[in-house]
């Protein structure tokens, strides 16, 4: 891979390994940096307020220590890792943080997070669990409350035009991510899963305009790859929640699979859905975040009491991506203590069964030590796929 040495890839490598370096620079330039952890945070509003959204990451190599002083070990290990790093000062450049009503680990610890980190700004975005008309109206109001609150902190009234502009930038961003995903379609893919994970991770640490620029450069560079650097091997999909590091993907790829598609928070779940334009920007955002992001924390009604239709309406996107990207097998990767995904494992298994996609289910703890232990199982799975 001669691109490895190219400027853009070394920049990505540097942003990935020294995560937050650009945010620190921007902070020194007087920008307000707002941290968040989950896909449900309406980034468009943060950007429209003139602040920089920054996706906080955990660190699977860093044992959770100080974070345990105020946060129970029964919380999601990924979230605990983010909290632990914050307490240890890794994200000292943050001016604020926003938490969404995504799961119990986040919602029930909002006070812990807010009081312990004691940042100048914090806010909880209360997402409804259902998709009723009333839920949408409620969420609209809730987004307006957030808009007003953040505007108060940023010293700026966030106008509809500001929002429309930010929505445009994020939609562009999603187009570019889509273009990157397209490069996974050939067999072998033009881009490895490890590379793409790094690129997307880095993108979430930058202001959207800079991320767009970066993605353009990456796309241009990748456009020069006449031939795939990868081998033609089994094509793997990863399904699950918040995977914000390359370790799992890399392990699979090192063991001889190509990770070609995902339904992860840091992947398609967050990065692909667009926001509608032309109408009321807040309603459009409400629709994008509540309706279009398909996460098990949002309840999708089983209207006809039909098992097959229910599975299709909840997990249809998995099947869609698996077909589009020609996956040969899937790995369902769920953290211990994650309620939204944990409760769905039997249903997800049933769905994978129904689309006849071989599945390996892994429960893990967000730690480098345990990832290593998964090796044998992944290896056996890949061998089974032949």
């Amino acid at each position: 891979m001669n691109e490895k040495n190219s400027d853009i890839f070394s920049r990505i490598e540097s942003y990935y390994s020294d995560y937050g370096q650009r945010a620190k620079e921007l902070k020194n330039e007087g920008k307000k940096i707002i941290g968040y952890v989950c896909s449900f945070i309406p980034l468009e509003i943060i950007t429209a307020a003139g602040c920089v959204p920054f996706r906080m990451r955990g660190d699977i190599h860093e044992p959770i220590t100080k974070g345990n002083i105020n946060l129970e070990t029964i919380a999601c290990p990924f979230y605990r890792s983010c909290f632990d790093l914050s307490v240890k000062g890794r994200y000292d450049f943050l001016d604020g943080s926003i938490v969404a009503h995504a799961c119990d680990s986040m919602a029930r610890t909002y006070a812990v997070w807010k009081y312990t980190l004691d940042l100048p700004y914090s806010h909880f975005v209360n997402l409804p669990h259902t998709l009723s008309k009333s839920s949408m109206e409620f969420f609209n109001e809730e987004l307006n409350t957030f808009r007003k609150s953040l505007g108060g902190f940023a010293g700026k009234e966030i106008s509809d035009d500001d929002l429309a502009e930010a929505i445009g930038l994020y939609n562009e961003n999603r187009d570019k991510v889509k273009a990157l995903y397209e490069l996974r379609k050939p067999d072998p893919p033009i881009i490895s899963g490890t590379e793409l994970t790094k690129i997307l991770t880095v993108g979430a640490s930058l202001p959207v305009a800079e991320a767009n620029q970066l993605f353009d450069e990456v796309l241009e560079e990748l456009g020069k790859r006449k031939e795939s650097p990868l081998k033609k091997v089994r094509r793997i999909m990863i399904d699950g929640a918040c995977v914000d590091n390359i370790e799992l993907v890399k392990l699979i790829e090192d063991l001889g699979g190509n990770v070609v598609i995902d339904t992860l928070c840091n992947g398609t779940r967050d990065n692909l859905p667009h926001t509608d334009i032309g109408g009321d920007p807040v309603s459009a955002l409400a629709d994008r975040y509540l309706n279009k992001i398909n996460c098990p924390r949002t309840y999708r009604e089983n209207k006809e009491q039909d098992l097959h239709k229910d599975l299709e309406s909840r997990f249809g996107d998995i099947g869609f991506y698996a077909r589009e990207f020609k996956a040969d097998g899937a790995i369902l990767y769920v953290y211990k203590y994650c309620d939204p995904f944990g409760f769905e494992v039997p249903a997800r298994k049933a769905y994978f069964d129904s689309i006849k996609l071989p599945l390996l289910y892994l429960e893990d703890e967000y730690s480098a030590g345990t990832i290593g232990q998964l090796k044998t199982r992944i290896q056996a799975f890949l061998e089974m796929l032949g």
Partner: protein
């Protein structure tokens, strides 16, 4: 397991009312089995669901699935259902109530009849399942959806019931209108669903009466529990883990109201006779959070044997005085339910705002510490329920930071003794609600002993 079952001693209660709960709970379970045979509609549901009165007014019999799992736990017979859930792919790190319930239901569906030796006749197949997508608990949002995989023909209705979290720059009054409006809409949606399932229209006069009865019951419980302020206290948390049954499972019924009338009378008599939970009351403790280990309720007796009593708890205190909850002028029972719900969840917000560094959950503890003359706090971290247990350690730490009520003398820099204030001693127990494998009686009791010693030494060093 058989050994375990034999060893298990029943907990002694301090009040007659608490002792009468066993048959009542048994009746819920057998009542639902009977109701099903008689063709009445039964619905799976959760405690703190807000719509108890709606079910009662429509003659739908609630099956409290958390309760059934709790019973399996108390009978030390949850393990086989937990294991079954695990074999279906559900992680043991999830809510063990849910795992127990799903394991049981899947087994029943597979057999087409109750699993062998099902506790108290078993959990009935429901006609519908009522989830609640509250901010409170993910399992409430996901459990029945997961169960539906094994009974796809049973409809689920999920109701969204939010309440606002405490913020510095947003007061609950800023958001109240749209919260309440949404809750009202969601409740109306539920009524429409229930009407469809039962084929009968809601009788709103009856609902009004039921809500009215519910509100009177809230006040009566509040007044009754307030009697526990007396020294010595006539009733402890151990008993409250029984009396939560009519509060959480029978709201909106005359039976619940009458139960608390009886308890009220009994407590008043005890207070008049100065009859406490223990003869020589030494330490008054606050159960400051956490669901109990249902299989180890006799730990409360162990505390008692050391002269320690629990006049108050925040667990299962799912009511407030209706006189203190803002209620607009409305006769619409649905609206009243919505306002009551909202008012309950923001109850401590205003108080918290007045004390620097405080938070509603911490303020609640402080109020009880003062009202009930508390000497120490005990919490229980049940590993599988994030809902009630996340944030407990932080609450204790924050409380210790901002609230130091005990005057003591410490050695100052110049070697002289100086008067200062210290925080309340606290103990955090760790185990689970029904997963007995997480519990060790020896360890728990050693920790209780050590805590009692701390209370003793703090009492000695207290400056009067």
């Amino acid at each position: 397991m058989a050994e375990e079952k034999k060893k298990h001693k029943k907990r002694r209660t301090a009040t007659e009312a608490a002792a009468s709960i066993g048959p009542m709970v048994k009746e819920f379970i057998s009542g639902t089995l009977r109701a099903k045979e008689e063709g009445r509609k039964v619905a799976f549901t959760f405690i703190v669901c807000l719509y108890d009165e709606i079910l009662r007014a429509m003659d739908i019999l609630p099956v409290w699935t958390e309760n059934f799992a709790g019973i399996c736990g108390a009978k030390r017979d949850a393990e086989r259902f937990l294991e079954r859930s695990e074999s279906l792919g559900l992680s043991r790190s999830l809510c063990t109530y849910a795992l127990c319930g799903i394991g049981f239901d899947q087994w029943r569906e597979e057999l087409g009849e109750m699993p062998p030796d099902a506790p108290w006749g078993g959990q009935v197949r429901p006609d519908m399942m009522l989830s609640s997508g509250q901010i409170l608990c993910d399992p409430r949002n996901k459990w029945y959806q997961a169960s539906q995989l094994y009974m796809p023909d049973v409809p689920v209705y999920n109701i969204d019931l939010p309440y606002p979290l405490y913020e510095d720059d947003v007061e609950f009054t800023d958001v109240r209108d749209y919260y309440v409006k949404h809750i009202i809409e969601e409740l109306r949606g539920l009524v429409a669903f229930l009407e469809k399932q039962t084929g009968t229209k809601m009788d709103y006069d009856r609902l009004s009466e039921t809500v009215d009865l519910g509100e009177r019951t809230w006040n009566l419980i509040w007044e009754t529990y307030d009697l526990r302020r007396a020294v010595p206290t006539p009733m402890g948390t151990g008993d409250a883990m029984n009396t939560m049954v009519p509060m959480c499972f029978m709201m909106g019924t005359q039976e619940a109201y009458d139960f608390f009338l009886g308890l009220n009378k009994e407590l008043k008599e005890k207070v008049a006779r100065k009859e406490g939970v223990v003869e020589d009351e030494k330490y008054r403790l606050l159960w400051g959070g956490g669901l109990p280990s249902w299989f180890a309720l006799s730990d409360f007796n162990y505390f008692n044997s050391k002269g320690a009593v629990f006049p108050a708890e925040t667990t299962y205190r799912m009511i407030e005085s209706m006189y203190q909850i803002y209620m607009p002028d409305t006769n619409d029972p649905i609206e009243r339910l919505a306002w009551r719900w909202f008012g309950y969840w923001v109850f401590w917000h205003n108080k918290a705002r007045k004390r620097p560094g405080s938070h509603p959950d911490v303020e609640w503890l402080i109020q009880y510490i003062e009202d009930y003359k508390i000497d120490g706090i005990v919490m229980h971290e049940a590993f599988s329920c994030r809902t009630w247990h996340l944030g407990l350690i932080w609450q204790l730490n924050q409380l210790a930071k901002i609230y130091k009520p005990i005057p003591v003398l410490v050695l100052g820099k110049d070697g002289k003794k100086e008067k200062t204030n210290r925080e309340l001693p606290s103990l955090v127990l760790e185990s689970d609600i029904i997963d007995i494998t997480t519990y060790s009686e020896v360890d728990t009791r050693n920790r209780i002993d050590a805590f009692i010693e701390t209370l003793e030494s703090v009492a000695k060093s207290k400056v009067h």
